[in-house]
Symmetry: C3
Subunit: 470 residues, 3 copies
């Protein structure tokens, strides 16, 4: 039996009539605002070439680890979904892969993936029936048809989505060609890069050495000396700034920072660039580099984003067969209070610096992050991240941070996605959840309606624009 | 003043009219489904002998550590409640013990114990007034009267409760006589055992050595050698399978696992069976044995349940005077992400194995358990456990796991109880809380009503039947 | 535009009509009850001298780290708010400081500070417009005017607030002069002290030595020997008892306790009183002293309060410039289960002792604190503390502790404040949040209305009176 696909205009609002009507009114004021996306992972080549996408599977399914991890957890082989392994992209028929996905779509009930996808299907792609095994081919054909039209090219969708600003993320060893091409193309869409130097900071990364070679080539610095290495970072930061970047991004295993004497730091550098550094040295070097990056941010004004706590490639077998980013990243505990102290001892009281903190460990929201951000001038709280980028996750974020850090030490929403078509869906979910939270405060007489309206505006565009210095 | 005892048909549903009416409709479809109880601690001798129980105190109070721990925390001596010490069962008058309990019954307000007991009193025992000091004797007499009727014998209640499947738990050194007697009796009730080898794995358990002696006697293996020890496990697992078991259960202090080379494992075994093994070796041996058990589960198809994180016998004085299981088990922090990795490196990607994880540390729900279960094919999430087996606890479980793991990586409800009369109450609470959670998702347009209905059915019987391979 | 300042009579109640009407009825029964404040930090000299306060800034703003930490986090210099540094109180114009505060008042939206302050402004001070830049001077003048009237002297407000009992907190080296003056004055208000010996226990405190010198002078004991030191504590505890104290208070960095042999304890004492003790010894000494204090509490009947887990003076630069208590205390993780065990091994089963536990680490509520308090006779749970002393924080406290510990292992509300004018506001928030929580249980048929009414009474006055032995 084919089911209709309909998005309720009241979705994600409380069913309490008071709260719902307040939420509706708040949402009405922010639903149409532009999308400010200062942190994400879309591919800049899409906007450089403006080429059409090919099919539902390669666009929506096989690159999305939110989707294939769930199917994998239920015994579905990744090859059946067209997910690339180290041996390349399997020659799975995309239509067949989509069928596999469709017949398992019920697994996503109650997850944000279903919310996002149904929004993409209904609002972006104009589908009117729900996805299941019986509608799989209809979906696949309809999507293919749409993708070949000009209206579904990347730039056209960028405009249709009302995107005011879109940041991508590139490594320190990236030549930024796609971004140059965008600028040279004369297209007016504001797509800029973000400086993510992890690949040349994490000496345990399997591709550290080739990244360093490219880093050297791009900067002309002797990156194998501590001073040359730092100079190379400064140069590349300047390149990124010139390409429009306003922020850096740091995805470390932990929140540890360090503040070594220059001589100690240089000695550490010497040790870690030799083959087979100790785990302790590798960790200390990452720690030291956060402080170095913070100091450079005071100089060049780039906003610093720290995303600690993901234990990458937990599944050894899958990493061996499929490599990175295959859904086997698992959160670990985080310790911001002790971890960040060395860096904060250096830069914590600066009012010229903004450091945005993200966590995968919700137990730190009320215990660590809100108290830190509610005190240190340089610290702000990034939105609920990754696994927590969901209605319940975003609600918990507000419930556990607002009373200590307030709304004004947060920075608005980050969609953090490579799934371009879902960007409006993700911002819509965030706006709705924030309006629902504000509506509860108003309905419980903890906030005036006009205050809530101001805050909704701030959470939607104001804080992001100001924090990321757009 | 005597108060009436009445259970509202809407208990545990939201008071929001929308949500309540959706919850009612969902609940109406699952309220009458059979009880599937794949994890519990009832005494199989009850069903083997079908003897009548004696009185309220020995049936409901003195074996229930949920109850006497609360009274003890308020200064009530355990002897007054008829709780056995190492010196035996005190000769407290059961009626007097019940009076002590009744006059403290207000302590249980807001706890699941009160919900369960009131359901037992009203639904199972037909009482119509609330328990307090003034009704204590009425209760005691009424219950005694009922218990002597045939309708209150174990098998009669088993049928009346609509139990489809009931698992008990026995040690590796248990001869399974009661289960044999049940089978030989010709009674059709499906009561099966579960293989719980902790007593012969935890070398720090005070009864390890006598358990090993029985383990050897039952298997004819030389359990004091590593190969004989493993062979004994394999034999006993086969015995348990033959007695109907579909699962094993492992209650370790931590979630640590290990994957030692066979030679190292054998050497470790040699060390730990000597008197006075080190705590580190004892822990490493438990860790290694989880991996051994997982490998055997791939061979014999038994579902593996891991319940880590209870710090047993925290109260040294009470342990000295009263022994184990006297309410002094306190949860500790758990670390599944690092703890399980060695085992998952071996078996994690198997689709032939099911490992069900339980936790007493709710901070792991969203941070560790949901991401792990939402990725590894072998992992599933057991329901909210022990202290968290309660309306708020079950709600938090759904709120913190569903968005990442979905509903289909969970396994339905476990009553986990030795309190037989409360089994319907516990399943009823779980069904109501699940329906209330689903009703919120429907009322907030995050799930369609027909999807919720399917899920309610799955959470009530479907997932348990399939996961436990019944 | 000037906005009216109005407090809704329904604030903090659920907007669900059922729950709201139940909450209203419960609150109506407790709103007018006296204030019992067994744990706080008001200055006893206020009540001794009954001098008038001076202005809004010095009374409400510059001593309140909840307020200035938030402003500091947004880049406002502390000197602009009149906050004293190590060089003394800055000569900031109080009216100007108040303007700075008023123009940033929106930062407190959604925080308990705004709830408390608006209550102070509206109910205590009779203001009718909201605070913002445009009303700053009006506020400042109005408050100054009020403060100079007799009705706003400390004792008059004490009476007006309906305070039945108010505890302050003094160090072991405090001569208790203000408390003596209060008693000698003939005033009937019950303001008593609390014994807080941290200053002579924490050998890492920068003022440990001068505090010990005063401790010796006040007791005539040789406090530099272990036996003299313990005798000095006993004497001062007796002094405090004589001055009305019923409780002690212990603010340690961790919940660690120890139970050393007397000889080991004496040797440890010898080590830590020498200059530059090791951090491990300092920690062990604090741990041992909790057990010593618990033993003395069994002797003298003083209720023991343990507040662990605040990492003091996290901001090194601010500590250097401004000293302690400047908003840079950040919560750390707590471990009650292992930390308290040595002490509980000694006193845990005592029914003559009450130890009240507080936490800044909410992840311990359900995992550690509720199970411990739901078992050990000596343990009770203090209310949501500090950063968690807020509507969401108090709600989480009830949701995460009630099901295991019940209501009767909690102790009512502590305002824990030095902000005297906000005491009614804080108790009002607590009463409302508790009534809202109870109302939900009633509306969901988890509690009878008459049970909820009894509990509301207990949470408001009964438990505090009994637990603190008033």
């Amino acid at each position: 039996m084919t089911r209709p696909l309909r998005l309720s205009p009241d979705r994600l609002f409380s069913s309490d009539p008071d709260q719902r009507s307040i939420a509706r009114a708040l949402y009405a004021q922010v639903a149409g605002l532009p999308i400010v996306s200062p942190h994400g992972h879309t591919d800049p080549r899409w906007f450089a070439t403006n080429d059409a996408w090919r099919d539902a599977t390669s666009l929506l399914l096989s690159p999305d680890h939110y989707l294939f991890r769930m199917l994998y957890s239920q015994g579905v082989d990744l090859a059946r979904l067209g997910v690339p392994s180290r041996e390349g992209t399997p020659d799975t028929d995309p239509r067949e892969a989509w069928r596999t996905f469709a017949s398992h779509y019920h697994l996503f009930r109650g997850t944000p993936s279903q919310l996002w996808l149904d929004h993409v299907f209904a609002e972006v792609l104009g589908l009117e029936v729900a996805l299941d095994a019986s509608t799989s081919d209809l979906y696949f054909d309809h999507i293919a048809e749409q993708l070949f039209t000009d209206a579904f090219r990347p730039r056209a969708l960028f405009d249709r989505f009302g995107i005011e600003f879109l940041a991508t993320t590139e490594g320190a060893d990236d030549p930024l060609q796609a971004h140059r091409a965008i600028r040279l193309s004369g297209w007016q869409g504001r797509v800029v890069t973000t400086y993510r130097p992890d690949g040349v900071i994490d000496v345990e990364h399997e591709a550290f050495r080739p990244a360093m070679v490219r880093f050297a080539a791009l900067t002309g610095e002797d990156v194998w000396t501590w001073s040359g290495y730092l100079a190379a970072h400064a140069k590349r930061r300047a390149d990124f700034r010139a390409a429009g970047a306003t922020a850096t991004d740091h995805g470390h295993p932990t929140a540890r920072t360090a503040n070594l004497e220059p001589r100690e730091a240089a000695a550490l550098f010497e040790r870690v660039i030799r083959p087979g550094p100790s785990a302790a040295d590798a960790e200390l070097f990452r720690a030291q580099m956060l402080t170095e990056m913070a100091k450079m941010s005071i100089d060049d004004g780039m906003v610093m984003q720290i995303h600690p706590g993901s234990i990458r490639n937990h599944n050894a077998q899958l990493f061996a067969s499929h490599g990175r980013d295959r859904g086997a990243d698992i959160p670990g505990r985080a310790d911001f209070v002790n971890g960040l102290k060395p860096m904060l001892d250096v830069v914590g009281n600066s009012t010229d610096l903004t450091i945005i903190l993200f966590t995968l460990d919700e137990s730190t929201y009320a215990r660590e992050l809100a108290p830190l951000a509610g005190h240190y001038p340089c610290l702000k709280l990034g939105p609920a991240w990754w696994f927590h980028d969901s209605p319940e996750g975003m609600r918990r974020f507000r419930e556990m941070t607002t009373e200590t850090a307030g709304f004004y030490n947060t920075v608005g929403f980050n969609d953090d996605t490579r799934a371009f078509l879902s960007i409006p869906a993700r911002h819509d979910v965030a706006r709705r959840v924030d309006c629902a939270f504000l509506a509860r405060l108003v309905a419980e007489h903890r906030l005036a309606d006009w205050e809530a309206a101001e805050i909704a505006q701030e959470l939607t565009v104001g804080l992001a624009r100001r924090t990321y210095r757009l």
